[in-house]
């Protein structure tokens, strides 16, 4: 197969970027999208050109490193897959393909198609954990967890932290990402203990990092490679509101004493 690629090139965060056109030919339909880009880069390297920088690692859809905005959609046209699992059979021979980085204020560009997503780490550091130490925990079967809750927690926990939800959102909101983590832990008895403080800390950090707010377009769910549901955003909002109201009530009670 042959393709024309229009790729965003940008030397570093301060440089001015531009779309540059490349042709690739002789691509197998069974090749992955990255194998197609590998072919382009091999050609660029051996002909004295400048290879295109893009993030990728596991190439099996689980590490969340890859982050291409293809033809106006995070991870491209196929539903429920990451860029690394996208195969060239999803395109037509002769297609022109537009490839850009994730675009969000909280994700500054490092080079070409690579962005800095450490803002997502900061949000997890703000409270996306159960405060348990190594050692001194009860036997794993001490607390039964209803299967339905455990399964729902698992569904939320499958988020790979790629940031496609942010890239898909017109407000560059990270609420699906945070909603998934808040839900995963709030649904389990082990995470329930800190649920109220966790959601408040994570939301505060989200604002601090420059992510936008949710306006219910559901674009995030549509483009999430792991099918994380927007129900998790609703659960986060409920947790957040509950936590705020409860702390407000506590304050009133304390002041009245």
């Amino acid at each position: 197969m042959n393709f024309t690629l229009k790729i965003w090139r940008q030397k570093n965060v301060t440089a001015k970027g531009e779309m540059v056109s490349y042709d690739v030919s002789g691509i197998s339909a069974d090749s992955s999208f990255f194998e197609m880009l590998d072919t382009l880069n091999q050609k660029l390297i051996t002909t004295g050109g400048d290879p295109v920088a893009f993030d990728h690692d596991c190439r099996e859809g689980i590490c969340g490193t890859c982050s291409l905005y293809i033809n106006g959609r995070p991870h491209g046209p196929a539903k429920g897959v990451t860029t690394c699992q996208l195969h060239m059979r999803a395109f037509k021979d002769g297609d022109t393909i537009f490839i850009e980085p994730w675009r969000a204020k909280a994700f500054p560009i490092i080079r070409d198609l690579i962005v800095d997503r450490s803002a997502l780490d900061k949000i997890i550091q703000a409270g996306g954990y159960v405060s348990v130490n190594t050692g001194g925990v009860p036997d794993a079967n001490t607390i039964p967890v209803p299967k339905e809750k455990s399964d729902a927690a698992f569904d939320a926990a499958t988020c790979i932290g790629c940031g496609a939800c942010v890239a898909a959102c017109s407000n560059a909101a990270a609420m699906l990402f945070i909603g998934a983590k808040v839900s995963h832990l709030a649904l389990l008895p082990q995470g329930r203990v800190e649920a109220a403080t966790r959601v408040q800390k994570m939301v505060a950090c989200m604002d601090e990092q420059g992510f936008g707010n949710c306006s219910n377009t559901y674009a995030c769910e549509f483009d999430c490679p792991k099918g994380i549901s927007v129900a998790n955003i609703a659960r986060m909002n409920r947790e957040f509101l509950g936590a705020k109201l409860f702390s407000e009530k506590e304050r009133v009670i304390k002041e009245s004493l």
């Binding site: 590490c63 348990v132 190594t134 925990v137 009860p138 967890v145 455990s150 698992f154 995963h184």
Partner: protein, 646 residues
């Protein structure tokens, strides 16, 4: 040959770890604050170690090449994690897990380390559940187990087909908590390119900031390597693209011995290679073998018709199918260990019975299981794996058998460590896949996750204290010292040398060529003539690489080609050592199959009289042959026998 002392505690094997912990030195909390530890890698071993050490109060610096610790390749482990909980009441115990691991490793593994691993396995499950890891549960709300990878008890805990992801996210969350608490500092997008020794002890590292290209110096009282395995020496493997041996290899060049480098695991159930542009291989979890049946056509005429697409697999009558694992190994059938299953697939394909367009694949068929258990039950067990397969191959395993073929998956070899997980360099530790310690010549399924977390959460935090207790009077190191300056200069010189090579060939091309040599001569089957040929070819490749590699871009910017070049240069050297190791081991054991040493039925033939040892290699300079040291293995608990799965 007395240089290798594993320092195994005295006493019965079941009491060694307790005795060790009771007798080891402790560091008082006020002193922990004054001690710095560097951890390299944030997979299960590295993240769990960094989090646990930070929690204890040490000052920890953790390094990863990825943009965030959560992406380390432990994330891709699918099947599960073993523990001797015996929740199913089917007769499991720490002893049995120990026994199975030793036998599975084909008796090329140290008893004391494995027993400890089995002992701490239960604590791992407890901790992970407390962290919020959503393991699979029964309707009672209690945890469920499955049988996995050749075990006759159900001791595997799992989270659908994403166990590694969930465990890593647990460790990552613990690590994130320590980062927020200020006990751990994260250095992401860094390649660790060298170790710094002061007076013979590990005292720091040289790293390259992958974004800016800056060469950084970091000092510490101890250094922990958790940089994973080296399967990417084969170019095509199930490892992540960035997985590399460089930190461990730099330690080897500084004097840490490298043990059993030729022990690699070829996993039987991977998606076959599609063509020349292939960049990596995808594993299909071994759990599929619980319900899938592996076969190839029994008759050559069916093989040809299949390849010509005149018939489909379902057209082949039951009697004309060769369920070769069930035929050869009636007791274990499709559940034989990985090395045995892989070799059997190669045997059939070499004999010409392979399927698919390339003839290098076998069927993994779920038709019977779907009939027996129903579509929904199979979906709940393997749904995500079936989806993954369909995305890659564009065929549905519900309708037609999967096609699979073995691929490089895991490396049992690694840096030699003693009972405390310390390498032959004082103060330098190696944990997880990075060391050689717990799997011998073959790793059992669901044991890698167990080992990574055992080392990081429950072993290293004890053993490192025993060393650091003697370092409390050692002040923090100045990175302007001559040792750091020399090491940093050596790294800079090496980068410049690679960059200034006047060649035309890309790094990937060299890597691909190395992979072909390794797969051909040092893969699933090895023989003396082939290994000699491999040595010759690798030497040639190394020379060509030195003068012929082409690196675009500069050193002081984000430059993936220079990253890859450093890694591939090390892989070429490692490849040579692997071949030498495979050559010296004139026996077959586990994943190491020497064609000259097999039984009349084609099974691996060990030579316990001469080769019941760990082969640890010492670096002797760039152009000198490495020197082999032996750690003789003592088996006091387990009687050596030929592995039989018939």
């Amino acid at each position: 040959m007395t240089r290798l002392n594993a320092r195994i505690p005295e006493g019965p094997v079941a009491e060694k770890w307790t005795a060790y912990k009771s007798g080891s030195k402790l560091v008082n909390p006020n002193n922990k604050r004054k001690l710095d530890i560097i951890v390299i890698g944030t997979g299960l071993a590295g993240a769990s170690a960094a989090a646990s050490l930070g929690q204890l109060g040490y000052n920890v610096k953790v390094f990863c090449y990825q943009d965030t610790p959560r992406r380390a390749h432990s994330i891709a482990a699918q099947g599960g994690i073993n523990a001797a909980k015996n929740y199913p009441n089917d007769g499991d115990s720490a002893y049995r897990l120990f026994y199975d691991t030793i036998k599975g490793g084909d008796y090329r593994v140290r008893e004391a380390n494995v027993y400890r691993l089995a002992q701490v396995s239960n604590q791992i499950i407890d901790l992970c559940v407390a962290q919020g890891v959503p393991f699979a549960r029964e309707y009672s709300g209690l945890l469920t187990n499955r049988s996995f990878g050749g075990a006759q008890v159900s001791r595997t805990f799992y989270a659908r087909g994403q166990t590694g992801q969930q465990l890593l996210l647990g460790a990552y969350s613990a690590l994130s908590r320590q980062i927020a608490a200020g006990t751990v500092k994260l250095y992401n997008r860094r390649d660790v390119l060298d170790m710094v020794l002061v007076d013979g002890k590990a005292r720091g590292i040289i790293a390259r900031n992958l974004v800016t290209g800056e060469i950084e110096r970091h000092a510490a009282h101890a250094v922990v390597l958790a940089n994973g395995g080296y399967g990417n020496v084969f170019f095509l493997s199930t490892n992540a693209m960035g997985s590399n041996v460089t930190p461990a290899w730099s330690a080897y060049r500084k004097g840490a011995m490298f043990a059993n480098p030729s022990f690699t695991q070829i996993h039987p159930t991977c998606i076959p290679v599609h063509g020349d542009a292939q960049s990596k291989l995808t594993l299909m979890s071994e759990s599929l073998r619980n319900d899938g049946r592996i076969w190839v056509p029994a008759k050559m005429k069916d093989v040809e018709k299949l390849r010509n697409k005149e018939i489909t697999p379902s057209d082949i009558a039951e009697a004309d199918r060769d369920y070769y694992l069930e035929r050869r190994y009636p007791a274990f059938g499709n559940l034989v260990p990985r090395d045995v299953a892989s070799r059997a697939a190669k045997e059939r394909c070499d004999a010409g019975f392979g399927v698919g367009t390339t003839g290098v694949a076998v069927f993994l068929d779920f038709a019977d299981a779907i009939k027996r258990k129903g579509h929904d039950a199979i979906d709940s067990l393997y749904g995500n794996l079936f989806q993954m397969y369909e995305q890659i191959v564009a065929e549905s395993p519900y309708e037609t058998p999967m096609m699979i073929y073995p691929a490089v998956h895991y490396t049992m070899g690694g840096l030699w460590v003693d009972y405390e997980l310390m390498t032959t360099i004082p103060g330098l530790y190696a944990i997880g896949e990075c060391n050689f310690s717990d799997h011998g010549a073959n790793r059992l399924g669901a044991s890698a996750l167990m080992q990574g977390l055992a080392d990081g959460y429950f072993v290293l935090p004890y053993t490192i204290g025993n060393y650091l207790a003697n370092e409390i009077h050692t002040p923090r190191f100045d990175t302007a010292s001559s040792e750091f300056t020399l090491a940093a200069q050596a790294v800079t010189d090496r980068l410049k040398q690679i960059k200034n090579s006047s060649g035309k060939e890309s790094v990937d091309n060299f890597h691909r060529r190395l992979g072909k040599i390794m797969w051909e001569y040092c893969g699933m089957a090895r023989n003396d003539a082939g290994l000699t040929e491999a040595l010759y070819q690798i030497t040639e490749l190394r020379q060509e690489f030195a003068r012929g590699v082409k690196i675009p871009g500069g050193l002081d910017e984000y430059n993936p080609e220079i990253e890859k070049a450093c890694r591939v240069a090390d892989f070429i050297e490692l490849g040579e050592l692997m071949v030498r190791d495979a050559q010296q081991r004139r026996e077959s054991c586990g994943g190491h199959f020497r064609e000259e040493y097999q039984t009349s039925e084609g099974e691996a033939l060990r030579n316990d009289d001469e080769f019941a040892f760990v082969g640890a290699w010492e670096y002797s300079g760039r152009d000198a042959a490495a020197q082999l040291h032996r750690e003789e293995l003592q088996f006091n608990e387990i009687k050596l026998s030929q592995r039989s799965y018939k």
